[in-house]
């Protein structure tokens, strides 16, 4: 059982008065992450909504030392900090428990421009947590397509709906043989909290990806962020899983879908609640298009179920 939201620590690393949108899922997720990491951490941010909302110099809405870095460099920057802290501790220039180094990066900085450096950091197994808050588009620049944008979704650079499915980034990171990979989303805060606590205590590289339904990019009412997150999991469009040392475990309620104990909700309702799919799903071939999206979801469910059976 995941930790109850009522039992999460009182510590707040996300301070009041930051500049995020109402109903912002990334900020909700960061608040939970802060409760798990506590204050002894160093945060690295690539250009993204989290930068736009952290406050302008010299103000800061996050209670950590926060370094803004070049877009493509989450993996390499975190490696640089981790190496510096370790050697400075060895040489006696730092005392006490070393801070947790973590990156807070969107899907653009993870799936696209940041992929190369991230892959290399994973291959080196450098000691930090990479967080991808995935809102399935470049929301900060006004919603453009990314490698995480699902098939059918409208963005300003896919005006007729994206033609390709998203890639399975968390699985790609797992295939680097890093010690910990997990997926999470804001509707399941206890699950996210537990995963961050676990990652914090594992040396080496950890990857945690958080689905972050963005009301602006996805076009739903900002009061429904959590509900949208829950619907994504229940229809199987987002799978909750974690892998310690390569062994995949599915978390509730995804585990019920994977094991066949519960059917995923049909994707229709999830799609229809979001304006970003409305153009793609207009017209006489709507049913066929919904079926295509459903196929993408079914494929991932089957693929991950079978992939999880491989344990060496």
């Amino acid at each position: 059982m995941a930790t109850s939201i009522k039992k999460l620590p009182d510590t707040e690393q996300v301070l009041s008065g930051n500049g995020s949108c109402g109903g912002c899922p990334a900020t909700m997720a960061l608040r939970i992450v802060g409760k798990a990491l506590g204050p002894n951490a160093i945060m690295l941010l690539t250009p993204s909504c989290a930068v736009a909302s952290m406050g302008m110099t010299p103000r800061l809405g996050y209670n950590w030392p926060c370094m803004n870095i070049c877009f493509a460099t989450a993996g390499s920057s975190a490696s640089g900090i981790a190496a510096a802290l370790e050697i400075m501790k060895e040489k006696g220039r730092l005392q006490g428990e070393l801070p947790t180094v973590f990156t807070w990066v969107g899907d653009g900085g993870t799936y696209d421009i940041g992929f190369q450096a991230l892959s290399a950091a994973a291959e080196r197994n450098d000691n930090f947590i990479h967080f991808c808050y995935n809102n399935e588009a470049y929301s900060n620049t006004g919603v453009q397509r990314s490698g995480a944008t699902p098939r059918g979704s409208y963005t300003t650079t896919t005006p007729a709906g994206k033609r390709q499915p998203k890639k399975n980034m968390a699985l790609l990171m797992l295939e680097h043989n890093i010690p910990y990979v997990a997926t999470a989303t804001v509707a399941y805060p206890g699950d996210l909290y537990d995963k961050v606590v676990k990652a914090k205590n594992i040396p080496g590289m950890k990857y945690i990806e958080i689905l972050a339904p963005c009301y602006l990019g996805w076009q739903f009412d900002m009061s429904e962020t959590v509900q949208m997150s829950r619907m994504a999991v229940r229809c199987g469009a987002w799978l909750l899983w974690e892998a310690e040392n390569g062994k995949i475990t599915f978390n509730n309620p995804t585990s019920l879908i994977i094991s066949g104990k519960k059917d995923p909700d049909p994707v229709d309702e999830y799609l229809m609640k979001q304006g970003r799919f409305s153009r793609f799903l207009k017209g006489p071939d709507a049913a066929q298009r919904i079926a295509e999206i459903q196929n993408d979801i079914n494929y991932e469910i089957v693929f991950m179920r079978e992939r999880a059976k491989i344990a060496v």
């Binding site: 950590w64 070049c70 640089g80 190496a83 190369q116």
Partner: protein, 376 residues
């Protein structure tokens, strides 16, 4: 009391020995010809425990500079090295290092840039990074590479601005020359441990390189533009104190040879300036009063030192190993003319581009070129 040692090493190995003497903490590295020897030597020293540091074998130069700036922000002394396209690939992060006021030191082993490919030296790579806000030295011997890296760390950490130490591929990087290694205790006296004024520290949460409003942004940029000029007096001070401690001297912001009574002044940088001393001797034998003025510091451009050093009514022959595309000639000539304008109307300046992509620059060839320029 330790004594100095003399060893025979290549330019890349001389650089690695300087980095070791500087007791760096973190070395991110990626191979590229002709720099690779520096990274190989440092990786070996770190693996054997000869150098107490972390080596980060990154997947490209963009990441090498990103890891370098991040490690520097965490409070470490950091070094990396690159050449040509590797330097260009770093471009964005070079700006972050200077804008972020992080005193990273990097060797750039000069090489012509793609396309088409060449492996050999010219200075288009470092000159194309002239406006990144990095201090740039150019060296003309293995010993100067060693000495300059130590001076570079000192200057960088005094004003929190990164420094690029340039030297030519192959003619320096791959040539064996004798190298005097000062005792480590002398180097430690010259270059004390790095004590950052600020670092990423959870005890003091603060933002770093975050978004700024226009008035604050302009202040940050103005401070960098003003402070980089302080590298001129600091480079002089570093050279003097290095000489006091080690007895070695390569010049300060500039280096000169037979300049005092010169009527023809050759103005050039890097390895060709080493060879040019021999060309000057040839010209002197032919009855031409030739001399050499070699800037060691290219960014910031040591304007006053050059103005003060040029003999009256000199004919200045600028030999550029780069192109200033869109202008006739090279960038060094443009830089020189811009500082002489209105200040030294007695001086004439002529310019030739040569040695591009490693075209051989012998003493006789350059002496003949200078003679031909005198007749133009």
């Amino acid at each position: 009391m330790q004594t100095a040692q003399v060893v025979m090493v290549t330019g890349t190995h001389a650089a690695a020995l300087a980095v070791k003497s500087a007791r760096v903490d973190v070395v991110p590295g990626y191979p590229i010809t002709p720099q690779t020897g520096i990274m190989e030597a440092l990786a070996g020293m770190i693996e054997s425990g000869e150098l107490d540091a972390r080596f980060i074998p990154v997947e490209g130069e963009h990441s090498a500079m990103a890891a370098a700036v991040a490690a520097s922000a965490a409070g470490a002394r950091v070094f990396t090295a690159t050449s040509a396209n590797g330097l260009l690939y770093m471009h964005e992060v070079l700006h972050m290092a200077s804008g972020g006021r992080l005193p990273v030191v990097m060797c750039n082993v000069n090489r012509g840039i793609f396309a088409p490919w060449t492996l050999w030296a010219d200075h288009q790579d470092s000159f194309s990074q002239r406006d990144t806000g990095w201090i740039q030295y150019h060296c003309s011997s293995n010993q100067e590479v060693f000495n300059t890296i130590l001076q570079a760390f000192r200057v960088a950490e005094q004003i929190n601005i990164p420094v690029m130490v340039n030297f030519d591929g192959f003619s320096i990087s791959h040539c064996l020359m004798p190298l005097t290694l000062p005792p480590q205790e002398d180097i430690d006296r010259f270059l004390p441990p790095y004590q950052p004024e600020w670092r990423l520290d959870p005890a003091h949460p603060s933002s770093f390189s975050n978004v700024t409003n226009a008035p604050e942004y302009a202040v940050f940029r103005r401070m960098l533009a003003d402070d980089i000029l302080d590298a001129i007096p600091l480079a002089k001070q570093a050279a003097r104190e290095y000489k006091d401690i080690t007895g070695m001297w390569d010049g300060d912001t500039i280096d000169t040879y037979r300049l005092d009574d010169a009527e023809v002044v050759v103005f050039a940088i890097n390895s060709m300036a080493g060879e040019l001393r021999l060309s000057i001797d040839i010209l002197r034998e032919q009855g031409i009063k030739a001399g050499l003025l070699r800037p060691r510091l290219v960014v910031p451009f040591p304007a006053e030192d050059i103005i003060n050093a040029l003999p009256r009514n000199a004919q200045v022959m600028v030999l550029d190993r780069n192109y200033n595309f869109g202008h006739p000639g090279g960038i060094l000539a443009s830089e020189l003319k811009s500082v002489l304008f209105g200040r030294r109307n007695d001086v004439t300046v002529k310019n030739r581009v040569m040695g591009i992509g490693g075209v051989d620059l012998t003493r006789r060839f350059m002496a003949a070129e200078i003679r031909a320029m005198m007749d133009e």
